[in-house]
């Protein structure tokens, strides 16, 4: 017995430790994802019998103008969200100085990260409210009248993304701050000896050391942009007339309000495929990095 144990403990111990995670991951993520794909091939109201319709949901989806609106909005989210890593880096460099009072500034930049995104959404909704919102007051101070951002079908997505960008920048800032703290003093010293200063120092000595952090910041920001849902739910509920909806919100709306779980699952599957691109890229990078360090 002890012999068997001795011979196999090399893999048994890690297997036991990893088992709960595997089971949880298998049930909560893998099995339910597969089930979603399965449901997407049916017409189902959530409690009646399921009816097989093959690719019917997908055919309908690709003919649905709302799908393209949501997809377009997802792209807008993705593009604008990509501002978060560079802006976060900029702020991190700024607040990383050894200046008196910088700690307070640092914590101020940190605040949006502590707020629940629902709270951020509500606050920005108030800011955007025509007539008595903060934005309206600002505009009226200059004698102009503010556009009703959340009522304008062309501006509404930008208004929501802007609100969501705020905590995302703070998040990237925190990542970069951590990265900046772990910079190698030796390399910076060596750079200084070689006469590198300012931009050159940042470009050739500091940034190369932040590659891993940047990579994480970009990957998480991309996924955050794609699964954006809470801000839309709080600020516009996809409105006006669906013009600020994204795939995640459309999926929710179809499943929960319209009782079309099959159609919702089809949207979920498409969203999953889009995210898969980023996930594969992310895993690929991680595995390559591991190979290099191994």
């Amino acid at each position: 017995m002890s012999n068997v144990w001795r011979r196999h403990r090399g893999w048994i111990t890690p297997a036991i430790f990893i088992l709960p995670a595997i089971v949880l991951f298998g049930v909560v993520i893998v099995a339910s994802s597969l089930q979603s794909v399965w449901i997407s091939l049916h017409e189902w109201d959530g409690f009646g019998p399921m009816q097989w319709i093959g690719l019917g949901n997908y055919e309908e989806l690709f003919a649905d103008p709302q799908f393209y609106t949501s997809l377009k909005n997802n792209v807008i989210w993705l593009v604008i969200f990509m501002l978060a890593p560079p802006l976060g880096l900029g702020i991190a460099l700024l607040v990383n100085q050894q200046i008196k009072g910088m700690r307070i500034v640092k914590s101020l930049f940190f605040v949006p990260l502590v707020l629940a995104s629902v709270a951020v959404g509500v606050v920005f909704t108030w800011v955007y409210t025509p007539q008595f919102g903060l934005l309206a007051l600002l505009f009226s101070a200059f004698g102009a009248s503010a556009p009703a951002l959340l009522s304008d079908e062309n501006l509404v997505t930008f208004a929501v993304v802007f609100a969501a960008l705020w905590p995302q920048i703070a998040f990237c800032m925190v990542l970069y701050l951590a990265g900046l703290n772990s910079l190698s003093e030796d390399l910076i010293g060596a750079g200084r000896v070689d006469g590198a200063r300012g931009w050159n120092m940042l470009r050739h000595v500091v940034l190369p050391q932040l590659t891993q952090v940047s990579f994480i910041a970009i990957a998480i920001t991309a996924i955050g942009a794609l699964r954006s849902f809470d801000m839309i739910s709080v600020m516009t509920q996809g409105g006006p007339f669906g013009s600020s909806s994204v795939l995640a919100y459309q999926m929710y709306e179809q499943s929960i309000f319209s009782y079309r779980f099959g159609y919702g699952a089809a949207i979920a599957t498409i969203l999953f495929l889009i995210m898969l691109v980023f996930i594969v890229w992310y895993l690929n990078r991680i595995m390559r990095a591991e190979d290099r360090s191994a």
Binding site: Q35, G46, F47, E60, T129, A148, L149, L150, G239, S255
Partner: protein, 422 residues
């Protein structure tokens, strides 16, 4: 989302198991005395108003004393109950449950999950006291529930503001147009309209359609039996467009929720709000005595129909003790008991023979309701939920971009053919 699908199925599986277990117990328990069975009543209640719950408990206690039955009251969270009812009606139904009338009730009636209580209606002669509200619980001429707290929809304004600005509450279409011009020249939006939550648009559609085409045609549309491209609807959208283009609605209304727009009445920035009587929760206390109800203006020369959305109470088809359930409903529905139950929430009673309420707004609505020939529930309660979602979005888009009318109607018609399979 993923976990939601997973969760739903596991819960179903779980309930099946539990239901199966309960069934096995019931079969095993056949030897139990039948009398104990017939004296037990289970009630599922979804109210979230504490005073109302207490009123219900008092009624139950009185019923227990009078009938010698034991009553178990199961309270459920209002929102959680909406999903739970789908399960318990199939596996382990109570004897009484609270729900909503109209299409939400019909969904369960069509699946054979609610008991036909027409006999109770005949026995207690409810027909004579319910008036138009009876439609809300009727499917194919049979009644499946008792209507409870109701919300009468119409136009609300502040009397003092109207007197101050020399405005007259409109009762006909021409008066509405005159009123609109007067309000605009007084620097007010004729309608404090808020469409962020979408449904107020549907309320306006209901009002116009009920005034122009009447109840029968409206319900045909709600049941998917009438096309959204039907020429009868042209007049509805023409009138609506006239108001939209005439600047009758609050600017940028899709930025406001109703609770943000209602205070505009007291701020003298808007004149009328088309809503249910719950508008009073958004009116400052000082202005409440001035809040006045007036029905939506008359348009076509037809009887008056209005939205009157009601909650209701039902006997599930799978209830174990339907006889006692009927006894309880009859007791609960006596005017004084019903009044005690309805008073805390300040809603409109469905019976027209209740003692007057302490809330003048409720009394005004009761008076007004007596002239209503028939009631609809509300767009999103009358039609299929999927259709409602498309309709709400479409109406909002129409109110912002009336020039897209044809596109919107085509889309709604497409949705209707998909949902109702016509």
């Amino acid at each position: 989302m993923h976990s939601l699908f997973g969760g739903a199925t596991t819960r179903r599986a779980f309930l099946k198991t539990v239901g199966g277990g309960a069934a096995a117990l019931a079969v095993g328990g056949i030897a139990m005395p039948a009398i104990a069975q017939s004296n037990n009543l289970t009630i599922v209640f979804n109210g979230n108003n504490e005073n109302q719950t207490n009123a219900l408990k008092a009624i139950i206690a009185a019923f227990e004393q009078q009938s010698g039955a034991t009553v178990t009251l199961n309270q459920m969270d209002h929102e959680a109950h909406k999903t739970a009812i789908r399960n318990y009606l199939v596996a382990g139904a109570p004897d009484i449950c609270f729900w909503f009338s109209g299409n939400r009730m019909k969904a369960f009636v069509d699946r054979g999950l609610f008991d036909d209580i027409s006999d109770l209606f005949v026995q207690e002669n409810y027909q004579s006291v319910l008036g138009g509200t009876i439609n809300a619980v009727t499917v194919n001429g049979k009644q499946y529930g008792l209507p409870l707290a109701g919300t009468l929809w119409g136009n609300f304004y502040l009397k003092n503001v109207f007197e101050e600005k020399g405005l007259v509450a409109p009762t006909t279409w021409d008066e509405l147009l005159t009123y609109g011009e007067a309000a605009k020249s007084a620097g007010m939006a004729p309608f404090a309209f808020a469409s962020k939550e979408l449904w107020p648009c549907a309320g306006f559609f209901d009002a116009l359609n009920l005034r122009i085409n009447g109840l029968e045609s409206h319900i045909a549309l709600m049941d998917g039996k009438m096309s959204y491209l039907d020429p009868a609807l042209t007049a509805v959208f023409d009138r609506w467009e006239e108001l939209i283009k005439g600047g009758f609605f609050l600017e940028n209304h899709s930025s406001y929720g109703w609770q943000e727009a209602a205070p505009l009445l007291a701020q003298r920035k808007a004149g009328i709000m088309n809503l249910g009587n719950f508008i009073k929760y958004a009116i400052p206390e000082a202005d409440l005595p001035h809040l006045t109800f007036v029905p939506f203006p008359k348009i076509a020369d037809i009887p008056r129909f209005d939205d009157f959305s009601t909650d209701s109470v039902h006997i599930p088809a799978n209830a174990k003790n339907k006889e006692l359930g009927r006894q309880f409903l009859a007791f609960f529905y006596q005017p004084e008991n019903l009044a005690a139950y309805l008073a805390p929430a300040g809603n409109v009673p469905p019976r027209n023979d209740l003692p007057p309420s302490s809330d003048p707004l409720v009394n005004a609505a009761v008076e007004s309701l007596k002239q209503v020939q028939g009631t609809a529930q509300y767009y999103d309660r009358d039609t299929d939920p999927d259709m409602a979602q498309a309709g709400l979005n479409g109406f909002q888009e129409f109110m912002v971009r009336p020039e897209r009318r044809q596109d919107i109607l085509n889309r709604l018609e497409q949705t209707r053919t998909r949902i109702f399979k016509v």
